[in-house]
Amino acid sequence: MAEVITDKIAGRGFKVLLILTLLVPLFFLIDLFVGSYYISIPEILKAIFRSGNADHQVVLIINQFRMPKAVTAILAGAALSVAGLQMQTVFRNPLAGPYILGVSSGASLGVALLVLGTGGLLGGSIVSAASSWGIVAAAWLGSGLILLLIVLISVRIKDIMTILILGILISSAISSVVNILQYFSNESTLKSFVIWTMGSLGSVTNSQLSVLIPSVLIGIGIAFVSSKFLDAFLLGENYARSMGMNIRFARMMVFLSTAILAGSVTAFCGPIGFIGIAVPHIARMVLQTAKHSLLVPGTILTGALMMLVSDIISQLPGSERILPVNSVTALLGIPIVIWIIIRNKNSSRI
């Protein structure tokens, strides 16, 4: 009897996952459709499947611009959400997110040093030379250094709350350094830095995708194989240890995955806020489970969907203008987070 009901609940999980799996390609198609230049759906499909009679210009727009942007949206949404899920579970805090360990401030320091530092020293002309690859490399280096620091701290320090506080302090300290760099930089370099901090899905090229895709897949793969660890973390570290988990190893796996996911997305797209905090809660709610074997795929799909929706909204369908995607995700995510806080007031703790 009980087993039947348990199966029913698991059945609900799979049903939700199936619906999400169908929604993602649908919104992917809508995202390809939305843009300043009108292209009909059949033409888009023709361009995607390289049908012989596809219009050359349409193929160019789809393949070089809209397709990489939509793929980036899926990658960024999935990556940030899974990173957020892992942080919420490990820190047992519903407001933890992918950037809580300071990954994004590390990336912004790298970019600030490159854009503002070199721009300030050698004049504005160098900024254009700091190609998009340069920015990516700088951001990656910055978040990589923070990752290294966090992993070192997590191996040495036992108490998870201490790690959380250190993460917050480190990212505040780095932000101040970035502020100082901003203060001493000139207008044009400052503007290009500020634009980076607004986040963008559109600047990722096909060749950059060949780096972003495997990075995100590796990070997600680690999250998948960590789902048993994550389940144990739900009860706190003492219980996890009493059930035979190697805390330090498990923590390192989770931090590694989070840093790879959040670090590479931030490197290519700039910091994108609130998706990583809000999506895991939506996934928990629609799946009605706390088991990570379901939550990890659910969060990946919900995150991809949320990011596609944000990208569609940021195009302001019917207009020529584009909003910074970071503002859209914040405006979508913050009400969700507020709702979660109010709803969970009595049964808090993730």
Binding site: E3, T6, A232, Y239, R241, T289, S347
Partner: protein, 340 residues
């Protein structure tokens, strides 16, 4: 006691405490020699701050002993690899677990952690063990309830079911009844008693609730300020060890009732006539407000006597030449308090 019996937990001249900076350590308690046999329910009793939690954490392997031996089976607890220890011993903490969207079944299934593969896949055998564990704590039908939607008592039973599902010879529980009402306290300790007796598990739990501990445990580890004593609860009562539990002159251990009572300054003496339960509770009421109840013959001739006679549905009070009739003990007490 014979040495052939199977000691599951053994502490041999152990010191417990915390590691501090620079290789020094703060010793909370030293010279601890205790043991527990297979199938015993062991209550750890002691005043706050005497080191109960530290002792349980040391036995559970969360922190190493400062010196001496802490053995689980025949091996030092901190020599076990994590997974081997998890197959030998499970742990239930004081903390209330409130994870949203976590069902009772899923929480109990976490107990199978050391038994399942890398992805935590449950086999039919695992499911059977989980169902049995839920049944053992009397929560059948709760499988799909969410753990943050059940009562504290039920949640504590779920945590015990989780440790049962872990299928270990030893279960260590840190104050499992701390936040519970009286009926749940009895319920939990009774379940522990049954599990120890019927499933042959060695169960160690710390508690402040003497009455349930004395009624249900096979062995008590009594943590006093200068020593640690062990034995059947009744032995410890008879040899007077319980008297030293608290450093508090206002408390004394009532050996007949098996619990602590507050020592009251008795101001006056009174005689209660009659017999039976009505007299017993009249005596208790008078003791509560500071009277010493004596026999008539013990009164000195010059002492003024208050005599109370419980009758059918009233109390007749005589004091010097006064006499008064009351319809409840509450009004008797009010009257006597005003006599001061």
């Amino acid at each position: 006691m014979t040495n052939t019996e199977n000691k599951i937990i053994t502490l041999n001249n152990a010191s417990i405490g915390y590691q501090q900076k620079g290789n020094t350590s703060k010793v909370v308690k030293s010279g601890i020699s205790l043991h527990a046999l297979q199938g015993e329910l062991v209550a750890v009793i002691g005043e706050n701050g005497v080191g109960k939690s530290t002792l349980l954490k040391t036995i559970a392997g969360f922190q190493p002993p400062v010196s001496g031996d802490v053995l689980i089976g025949e091996k030092q607890v901190n020599r076990y690899p994590e997974k081997d220890l998890a197959l030998m011993m499970s742990f239930v903490s004081t903390e209330i677990i409130r994870v949203p969207n976590l069902s009772v079944f899923d929480l109990v299934s976490l107990g199978r952690y050391p038994h399942t593969n890398w992805f935590g896949k449950l086999l039919d055998e695992d499911r059977h063990i989980i169902e049995e564990a839920i049944k053992a704590v009397g929560l059948q039908g709760y499988e799909n309830r969410m753990v943050n939607h059940i009562s504290d008592g039920e949640r504590q039973k779920v945590m015990i079911a989780r440790s049962l599902a872990q299928d270990t010879a030893v279960i260590v529980l840190d104050e499992p009844t701390a936040f519970l009402d009286l009926s749940n306290k009895y319920g939990i300790v009774h379940i522990l008693h049954q599990l120890a007796g019927e499933k042959g598990k060695t169960i160690l739990f710390s508690t402040h609730d003497l009455t349930t501990a004395i009624a249900e445990s096979d062995r008590v580890w009594l943590m006093l300020h200068d020593s640690v004593e062990q034995g059947a609860p009744e032995d410890l009562i008879l040899n007077g060890n319980f008297d030293n539990l608290f450093h508090n002159n206002h408390l004394f251990f009532d050996q007949e009732k098996g619990d602590f009572r507050i020592r009251k300054q008795t101001r006056r003496k009174a005689v209660v006539t009659g017999a039976g339960i009505k007299r017993d509770w009249t005596v208790k009421a008078l003791e509560r407000i500071g009277f010493e109840v004596v026999d008539e013959t013990h009164l000195h001739r010059n002492e003024s006597m208050i005599s109370i006679e419980p009758a059918d549905s009233r109390w007749v009070l005589k004091y010097l030449e006064h006499s008064a009739v009351f319809d409840s003990l509450h009004s008797v007490c009010r009257y006597l308090n005003n006599l001061r």
